[in-house]
C-alpha cells in the first residue's frame, strides 16, 4: 500500500513540475518497480510493454478512428450537418443553439474527440450565432457543452482507450454510449431552453425553413450518414470487429473526401501526419499507463482497497458514486485522460468485484471526462474556444458553460441510477 501511495505522490509531484504525464508515470513505474523487484527485471518489463503495445493489431483501431474523424472534418461536413439541424429547429427561440447541439451529436457519430468536435463547431456555428445576435456566453457555452457529445456518441477515443486498458469489448462500449448520448443532447437542449427563457435576448429565433430546404440539406449528408450506419451498424451487428470497422470507416471517409474534391496531396499528407501525431501522443500515455498499472498491480493497494471496502460494508452504488465525485472534483483541475488512466488500476478491480458491468462503468468514465472537459477553471474545451474565438473573454465562456456542466451532472446521476440506459443496447450483442 505504501509503495503505491508513494508512486501516486511521485506522479503528482512530477506532473506539477510540468513533466509530461506519460514520462512522469513511466519514470515512477521504473523507479518503483526497480526498487521492489530489481532493475534488470524492470528494464525487461518496460521493454516488453513497449513492444507489446507497439506490435498490436487490435490497437490500430485508435489511429483509424482518428483518421476517419479528421478526413470527414476536412471535407467540410460540419457545415452541412449544422445547416440540416438548423433547417429543422432554427425557427424556435434559441434555435441556432439547439441546432449546434444536434450538429455536435451528428458530428460525434463520426468523430471520437470532444476537442475536435468543439473546435470544428466553433468555426461553423459561432459565426451564425453571432450574426443573429446571440449572447457570447450562450453560443460558446453551447459549443463547449455540445462538443463533449463527441466522446459519448460512438465512435469515441476515450471508450477505445478504456476498452484497451480494461480489456472491455469496444463494440459494446460504443453501443452503450448511444442512449446516454441522446439523453445528454436532450438535457443540453433543455439547458438552452432555460437560458433563453430567462434571457430571451441571448438567443433569438431564426427563420423557418421550408420542407424543400430541409430535404436539400439532407441530400448533403446522406453519404456520410450511410458510412456511419455501415461502420457502427456493422460493429453492432457483429459483421466486423471495432478494428475492422475503423478501417472501413477511415477508408470510406477518405473516398468521401476524395469524391468531394476537398483532398489535395498536401491536405492528405496533413491529415495523415496530424492523425499519426495524435496517435503517437495517445500511445505514449497509453504505454506509460500500462507500465504504471503494472507497478500498482504489483503493490498491495488494489487488494487492500477491495478488502477495506468489503470490510466497511458500503453500499456498492455508493462506492461508485464516491468514485464519480472524486473524478468530477479531480477533473476540474486535471487533464481528464491521464486522470482516468492513472486511477483505473485502482478503481476498476473494485468496480468489477462489486459486480458492476465494466461497460456501464465505461460510460460513467466518459461522462466524468465530459464534465471535466467543460468545468472551469481547467476545462480543455473552454481553452480551445478561448484560443479559437479571440474576441470572447474566458469569463464569458465560464459564465455560459456552467448550466451545461449541471446538465451533464444530471446525466451522470441518471446513468448511475438507471444502469440499463447503458447496458440495454449492448445486451443484444454476442
Amino acid at each position: 500500500m505504501t509503495e503505491a501511495l508513494l508512486g501516486f505522490a511521485g506522479v503528482f509531484v512530477l506532473a506539477l513540475a510540468r513533466v509530461p504525464l506519460a514520462f512522469a508515470m513511466g519514470l515512477v513505474c521504473v523507479v518503483g518497480l526497480g526498487l521492489v523487484r530489481g532493475w534488470s527485471v524492470t528494464a525487461a518489463a518496460a521493454g516488453q510493454v513497449l513492444y507489446e503495445t507497439g506490435f498490436a493489431y487490435t490497437l490500430s483501431v485508435v489511429p483509424l478512428f482518428i483518421l476517419m474523424g479528421n478526413f470527414v472534418a476536412r471535407a467540410g461536413l460540419a457545415h452541412e450537418l449544422f445547416r440540416l439541424a438548423y433547417s429543422f429547429v432554427g425557427h424556435v427561440r434559441g434555435g441556432l443553439a439547439h441546432a449546434t447541439i444536434l450538429a455536435c451529436a451528428g458530428f460525434g457519430a463520426i468523430c471520437g474527440s470532444s476537442i475536435a468536435t468543439a473546435a470544428t463547431m466553433s468555426k461553423v456555428a459561432y459565426p451564425s450565432m453571432r450574426k443573429l445576435g446571440y449572447a457570447d456566453y450562450l453560443s460558446t457555452g453551447v459549443i463547449a457543452g455540445g462538443g463533449t457529445l463527441g466522446i459519448m456518441i460512438p465512435p469515441s477515443t476515450i471508450m477505445v482507450i478504456y476498452g484497451i486498458v480494461t480489456e472491455t469489448h469496444i463494440g459494446k462500449l460504443f453501443a452503450a454510449g448511444v442512449l446516454p448520448g441522446l439523453l445528454l443532447a436532450a438535457l443540453m437542449m433543455g439547458a438552452v431552453v432555460i437560458v433563453t427563457t430567462r434571457d430571451p435576448q441571448a438567443g433569438p429565433a431564426g427563420e423557418r425553413s421550408s420542407w424543400r430546404e430541409r430535404f436539400a440539406a439532407l441530400r448533403g449528408i446522406w453519404g456520410v450518414a450511410l458510412l456511419v450506419v455501415v461502420v457502427l451498424g456493422g460493429i453492432y451487428g457483429g459483421v466486423f470487429t471495432a478494428t475492422e470497422g475503423a478501417g472501413i470507416g477511415a477508408s470510406g471517409a477518405f473516398f468521401f473526401a476524395l469524391a468531394r474534391r476537398t483532398l489535395t496531396w498536401r491536405m492528405l499528407r496533413e491529415v495523415l501526419v496530424e492523425s499519426a501525431r495524435t496517435t503517437a501522443m495517445l500511445f505514449t500515455i497509453l504505454i506509460a499507463a500500462m507500465m504504471f498499472s503494472g507497478f500498482i498491480n504489483f503493490t498491495s493497494m488494489p487488494g487492500d482497497l477491495k478488502d477495506w471496502i468489503t470490510h466497511m460494508g458500503l453500499a456498492p452504488l455508493a462506492v461508485v458514486g464516491a468514485m464519480m465525485v472524486i473524478y468530477v472534483l479531480l477533473g476540474t483541475i486535471m487533464e481528464e485522460l491521464s486522470m482516468v488512466l492513472l486511477t483505473i488500476p485502482v478503481f476498476f478491480p473494485i468496480v468489477t468485484q462489486l459486480g458492476f458491468d465494466p461497460v456501464w462503468f465505461g460510460v460513467l468514465i466518459v461522462l466524468v471526462v465530459q464534465i471535466g472537459l467543460i468545468s472551469p477553471p481547467v476545462g480543455m474545451n473552454l481553452f480551445v474556444l478561448n484560443s479559437l474565438l479571440k474576441d470572447v473573454s474566458l469569463r464569458q465562456i465560464f459564465r455560459g458553460v456552467w448550466i451545461f456542466v449541471v446538465a451533464l451532472c444530471i446525466g451522470l446521476a441518471v446513468v448511475l441510477e438507471f444502469q440499463p440506459l447503458a447496458t440495454w443496447l449492448p445486451s443484444f450483442m454476442r
Partner: protein, 176 residues
C-alpha cells in the same frame, strides 16, 4: 502556438528534415494500415479470402506510425502536461523548469532506446520472424530504439532554445 524565440538557421533546416522524414514515414504507414484493413476486410466478407499476413503487416506498420510520430509530438510540444501553475511562476523559474523537464524526458527516452536496442539484438540473434510472412522483427525493434534516441536528442536540443517550447495550447490536442 507560443513557440517564441527564433531558432538558429542550421537548427531550422534540421528540424524541417526531421519533420519531413518522420512525417512521411508515419503518413505512409498509417495510409497503408487503412488500405490494408479495407482490402482485407472486404476480401474476407465478399470473397472469403483475406490478405495473407495482413495482421502482422498491420502490427509492423503500427510500430512505424507510433514511433515515427513520437519525435513530431515532442517537436510540437504536444505531450500532455499539467500547466495550470504556469501563470504563477516567474519567467526565470519556468525557463529552469523547462530545462529540467527536457532533461528528464531525454533521460527516460534514452533509457527506453537502450532497452529496445538490447531487445532488438536478442531478436536478431534468435533470427525471430513474423509467423506468416517470415519478415524479420529485429529491424523494426531497432527502428523503435533509434526513434526513441532521436526524440531524446531532440529534447536535448530543445533545451538550447531561448524560451520554453512547451505551450499552454490546444493545437492538435485531440485526445479527448
Amino acid at each position: 502556438m507560443s513557440r517564441a524565440g527564433a531558432p538558429a538557421h542550421g537548427d531550422e533546416s534540421l528540424r524541417r528534415l526531421l519533420e519531413w522524414l518522420c512525417g512521411t514515414l508515419a503518413a505512409v504507414a498509417l495510409f497503408a494500415i487503412m488500405i490494408l484493413t479495407l482490402i482485407d476486410v472486404s476480401g474476407r466478407k465478399a470473397l472469403s479470402q483475406s490478405v495473407p499476413g495482413s495482421l502482422e503487416m498491420t502490427e509492423l506498420l503500427m510500430v512505424v506510425t507510433i514511433f515515427a510520430g513520437l519525435p513530431l509530438v515532442s517537436l510540437a510540444g504536444e505531450h500532455v502536461v499539467f500547466d495550470s501553475l504556469d501563470p504563477w511562476l516567474p519567467a526565470r523559474v519556468r525557463r529552469l523548469q523547462g530545462l529540467c523537464v527536457d532533461l528528464v524526458c531525454a533521460f527516460g527516452l534514452l533509457g527506453l532506446a537502450w532497452v529496445m536496442w538490447t531487445m532488438a539484438g536478442q531478436r536478431a540473434a534468435d533470427g525471430q520472424t513474423t509467423a506468416q510472412l517470415k519478415l524479420p522483427i529485429a529491424p523494426f525493434v531497432y527502428g523503435m530504439s533509434v526513434l526513441c534516441a532521436i526524440t531524446a536528442v531532440l529534447h536535448l536540443l530543445l533545451m538550447l532554445r531561448p524560451v520554453a517550447h512547451h505551450h499552454v495550447g490546444v493545437d492538435g490536442r485531440e485526445s479527448t
